[in-house]
């Protein structure tokens, strides 16, 4: 096995046992990036020099027995995380020349924990999109088949981990932007509870929905990563003063008697038959392990996209109002099509005479969606659904139909509206099928739980992985 293919857990073990150095590990990732980035377009900035220096420093610390949780682990970050002295674009030409003066809180925490930053990852500009194609720097390709989308908006973050260019990566999830690409690229993606991870220094998209999460190769790694990023931050008032548990502690707990809800609204006609089959197989695995499977209903699910496409563009229009080219960045004429569309939509729904009919109404429907989940979690401990109603689609397929693109997030947006955590876990590959010209592409399930229930999600996800080891790798 090559070093860049290791998980966080395996890499930490190897580093501490001196089987290899942080420099070996980092160079192995940088070699893979150099080899594959021309094909996949996952990285916008590659920090060769900085990463090599950081690796050498990590090796010094490892030599004296430093046990920092991510010491020597090479990761990469969505280009929406501010990184001091490293260009940060949000994949938009508006910020083509922007060099942040400080690190986001989560970047500082990762660096303090010993992580090595390999570079900055491509995404839909301003995190607006479900396919990665709204990037002003060209789309990211799916490592499983380069004609297909890796999912968005954290497209480069998913592709980077799937293609073993980084051991893990940082992303953001406002309506599904971590869970969807994780499912499309056969990696694990966590959208934490709203406020669990600080948003300070993350370029804001929709402030009442933005969640800061990550991509890893295993559920266990996802827990180790959240151990570092979670917690209160005085620079983000939405981070509550709740203790951060050791998220890796309960991974092996028995799931016997855990009540898992299956919401009927997610298993309707619009769901691809083969994805439904795979999801049901995963659910029956939990049943065999002694979990109790319970049919539930989340009656307002069908209104989630409509509510989301009022709330989110409204907040986008407000957050993107700050880009005036005075303190940093280029003029507003540099905004791409999707950003303009959302600014216009949000400005309209917030404008005088329309606020009550649109924004206020959507915020009320949001309450009903949140209540659906609160009611459901009285009956069940967790909920399992597919991540996406369809397999990854071909690049270009939905780019001229914004509404169709928006509907791709139909199974993921409710978690953001309700503020609950969601873990996207790979459940297999579908295809290839010669009859329908379907390429072999990954599928994921989504495990949802009440606010601040990440421990339970990791427990369920880890138990699934133990019983169903994920051995698929892209052929690159």
């Amino acid at each position: 096995m090559k070093l860049n293919e290791l998980t966080i857990k395996q890499a930490i073990d190897g580093l501490r046992k001196k089987e290899f150095s942080a420099l070996d590990l980092t160079e192995s990732c940088l070699d893979q990036i150099a080899r594959l980035n021309p094909l996949l377009n996952a990285f916008l900035t590659i920090c060769n020099k900085e990463a090599i220096n950081a690796a050498k420093q990590a090796d010094e610390k490892l030599r004296i027995g430093d046990k920092s949780p991510l010491l020597g682990i090479p990761i990469a970050l969505k280009d929406i995380y501010l990184t001091k002295n490293i260009r940060t674009t949000a994949s938009s030409k508006v910020l083509d020349n922007y060099i942040p003066q400080y690190d986001a809180t989560v970047v500082k925490k990762l660096k303090d924990a010993g992580a090595i930053i390999l570079g900055k990852l491509n995404c839909d500009a301003w995190a607006h999109g479900s396919s990665g194609e709204n990037s002003d720097y060209g789309p990211v390709k799916n490592p499983y088949n380069v004609e297909y989308t890796p999912g968005g908006s954290s497209s480069g973050s998913a592709a980077s981990v799937a293609a073993d260019m980084s051991i893990a990566s940082g992303g953001t999830d406002t309506g599904g932007s971590i869970r969807l690409p994780a499912a499309f690229c056969n990696v694990v993606g966590l959208k934490p509870t709203y406020g669990r991870v600080s948003r300070n220094g993350i370029i804001a998209m929709s402030s009442s929905l933005d969640s800061i999460g990550h991509f890893t190769k295993t559920v266990e790694d996802s827990a180790l990563y959240l151990n570092v990023t979670a917690g209160k931050d005085s620079f983000d008032a939405t981070t509550p003063n709740l203790p951060v548990p050791d998220y890796s502690k309960n991974l092996n707990k028995s799931i016997k008697g855990t009540r898992i809800g299956i919401p009927k609204e997610f298993f309707t006609e619009g769901l691809d038959k083969k994805i439904k089959e795979k999801t049901m197989e995963a659910i029956s695995f939990f049943e065999k392990q002694g979990a109790e499977i319970i049919d539930i209903s989340l009656p307002h699910t069908d209104y989630a996209i409509a509510a989301y496409y009022i709330i989110q563009p409204a907040e986008v229009s407000s957050n993107l109002a700050r880009y005036d080219s005075i303190r940093y960045g280029n003029k507003r004429s540099y905004f791409g099509k999707e950003a303009k569309r959302r600014i216009m939509l949000g400005t309209f729904t917030l404008s005088a005479g329309y606020y009550d009919a649109y924004y206020k109404k959507a915020m009320k429907v949001r309450t009903l969606i949140k209540k659906d989940y609160e009611e459901a979690f009285k009956k069940v401990d967790a909920i399992i659904t597919p991540v996406s109603p369809t397999l990854p689609w071909k690049l270009g397929e939905k780019i001229n139909d914004p509404l169709k693109m928006y509907l791709s997030d139909i199974f993921t947006v409710t978690a953001n509206l309700a503020g609950i955590p969601g873990l996207s876990v790979p459940i297999g590959i579908i295809g290839p099928s010669t009859s329908s010209e379907q390429a072999a592409l990954p599928v994921g399930m989504q495990i949802l739980g009440p606010q601040f229930s990440e421990e339970l999600l990791f427990n369920l996800g880890h138990q699934y992985e133990i019983g169903n080891p994920n051995k698929e790798k892209p052929q690159l």
Binding site: G195, S234, M344, F348, M363, K364, L368, L403
Partner: protein
Amino acid sequence: MKIDILKVAKLANLKLKDNEENELEGQLTSILGYIEKLKEVDTEGVEETSQVTNLENIEREDFTLPSLEQVTALSNANKKHEGFFEVEAILE
């Protein structure tokens, strides 16, 4: 639903090209058409949710912390003048 695209663009401080006006009008009308389905939902007496984890009035002691130095704060400015951001005149 008829949207006054030029008025909205002005409010949003965006300059649109001619073809963008028509394209946006069509797309926004279609999106707003879809959003209309919220009218089916009875929200009588339902409160709005704007803070989803129920936090309120987060306070901290009022003390100063180090902040960016002037030269750093100005490092991304397109135009600066004697330690200030330079902006276009807003009064003629």
